[in-house]
């Protein structure tokens, strides 16, 4: 492609953006609204997944040891527990510590130590974290088999429900983002088809005077990319504003909610939206033109 041709193409793209100002504004608005919805859904999904992970990371398996074990035997069990596949972290809680924790939970008013006297009914125990939350039930079962372990508790019943819920949350999130993404693609494609349709006469003249298909496509491609980038930029700007505001408000009023604040992850969402917008604009233009190039 010659340099002068490149100049015509760039000039044509900008001229068309300017001369079809209303169409351009409409396309940019459509693009940015679609991407704003997509971006919101995306951040919502990332947050719910973050919440799911946070809930899952709280999961613990408590392995209570048999009362007859000596302290030494109890401490030696650590190695056996660490050897169970899928176990991430094992920490020992002695019966004394256990009692202290119980006391802490009841508060100052009632002294458990006084009530119980000298006898501590609690066994020594290990608190165990799994590498993968989903495996908690199986790991618990394996730990039950370890010699010296009396009972295993991990919130049986609750955990399975929680895991089913977080799993559902993840799938639903992906489905939601994909569905909204497809909707955005459709909306953007329709808008671009309108802009191309408005210029079908110019395309047919170019075809008949012998312009090559790529030469005809280029200004549309460029225009699509510019519109896509502008729309996405606008969407990202709005999203950033709304999300930051939301995070601030939630941190004050609902501070127990684990809000996603991983800057680099959120930035990568914004970058992806810009990339998606720009490439949708480009691809949409080329595809919409196809029909008009067949002269």
């Amino acid at each position: 492609m010659k340099l002068s041709s490149l100049r015509y193409i760039i000039r044509d793209a900008f001229q068309s953006i300017r001369r079809n100002a209303i169409m351009t504004i409409a396309s940019v608005a459509t693009m940015s609204i679609s991407l704003l919805i997509l971006g919101s859904a995306w951040l919502l999904v990332l947050n719910s997944q973050h919440m799911a992970s946070a809930m899952e990371s709280e999961l613990e398996i408590n392995a209570y040891l048999q009362q007859e074990l000596t302290r030494e035997e109890a401490l030696n069990l650590r190695r056996a527990l660490e050897a169970v596949p899928g176990v991430a972290k094992v920490s020992f809680v002695s019966r004394e510590e256990g009692l202290q924790r119980l006391q802490d939970r009841f508060g100052e008013e009632t002294s458990i130590v006084d009530t119980l006297g000298e006898s501590n009914p609690l066994p020594d125990m290990y608190s165990i974290k799994a590498e993968i939350a989903e495996e908690v039930p199986q790991i618990a079962q394996a730990i039950q088999e370890v010699e010296g372990v009396d009972t295993v508790r991990y919130g049986q019943g609750m955990v399975e429900k929680l895991l089913a819920f977080t799993q559902w949350l993840r799938t639903a999130g992906i489905v939601l983002v994909v569905a909204i993404g497809l909707g955005a693609v459709f909306l953007i494609a329709t808008t671009i088809r309108l802009t191309v349709f408005a210029r079908r006469k110019a395309i047919s003249i170019m075809k008949l005077v012998g312009a090559t298909d790529w030469y005809i496509r280029m200004p549309f491609l460029l225009e699509g990319m510019i519109i896509g980038f502008l729309g996405a930029g606008l969407a990202v700007l709005c999203l950033q504003l709304i999300y930051n505001q939301l995070v601030q408000n939630i941190m004050v009023t609902l501070n127990f909610l684990p809000i996603l604040q991983d800057e680099s992850l959120i930035k990568s969402v914004y970058k992806s939206l810009l990339l998606i917008g720009t490439s949708l604009g480009a691809i949409g233009s080329v595809i919409s033109m196809h029909r008009f190039l067949r002269i």
Partner: protein, 226 residues
Amino acid sequence: MIQFFNVSKTFYGEVKVEALIDINLHIKKGEFVFLVGPSGAGKSTLTRLLIREELPTKGQLLVEDRSLLRMKGKEIAYYRRKIGFVFQDFRLLMNRTVYENVAFAMEAIEMPAAEIRERVPAILEMVGLKDKLHAYPHQLSGGQQQRVCIARAVVNDPKIIIADEPTGNLDPDNSWEVMTLFRAINKRGTTVIIATHDRDMVNLMKKRVVALSNGRIVRDEERGEY
């Protein structure tokens, strides 16, 4: 230069239309040919075959000894650069000036900017519009618009000019202006093919006349009449 060998064109839509049937036609370089006949006789279809907008259903069509049937993609684009097409409805870009409309055809085939700046005003002077360079099409009369369309068709110096009802939307005075222009272009050696049902014009011009009726050639005369 242009050779139709037993060319037929059938459109298969809701109803089958045989637009052209067994056409044999030879047009030499530098000729001036009128295609005449009533609406639906096949004149437009014939011109559309020549600009490779449609393909023949049967037969062979050669232009400068090259078959139009085997061309594809880029070849079609380069072939069309040899042809200037003039439309009945002018098909000018309404949001571009006269100058830009003509320059558009040169830019589309990637001509250098310096050549465009030189050639466009020269061509517009030839068609008598040198004082309308920066007017928009809606500010021009029908005849002037058609002359812009002709300027656009000849600006890339094509070997063949094809016009489909170029005077169909014009009054007699403007029609005559446009025809004179075609004759001048033909005098420079360009082959000119005009589809028309403008009886008076054809009779005045005394050129070769190919008459079509129901998709067949019914008459072909040198210096003929409608």
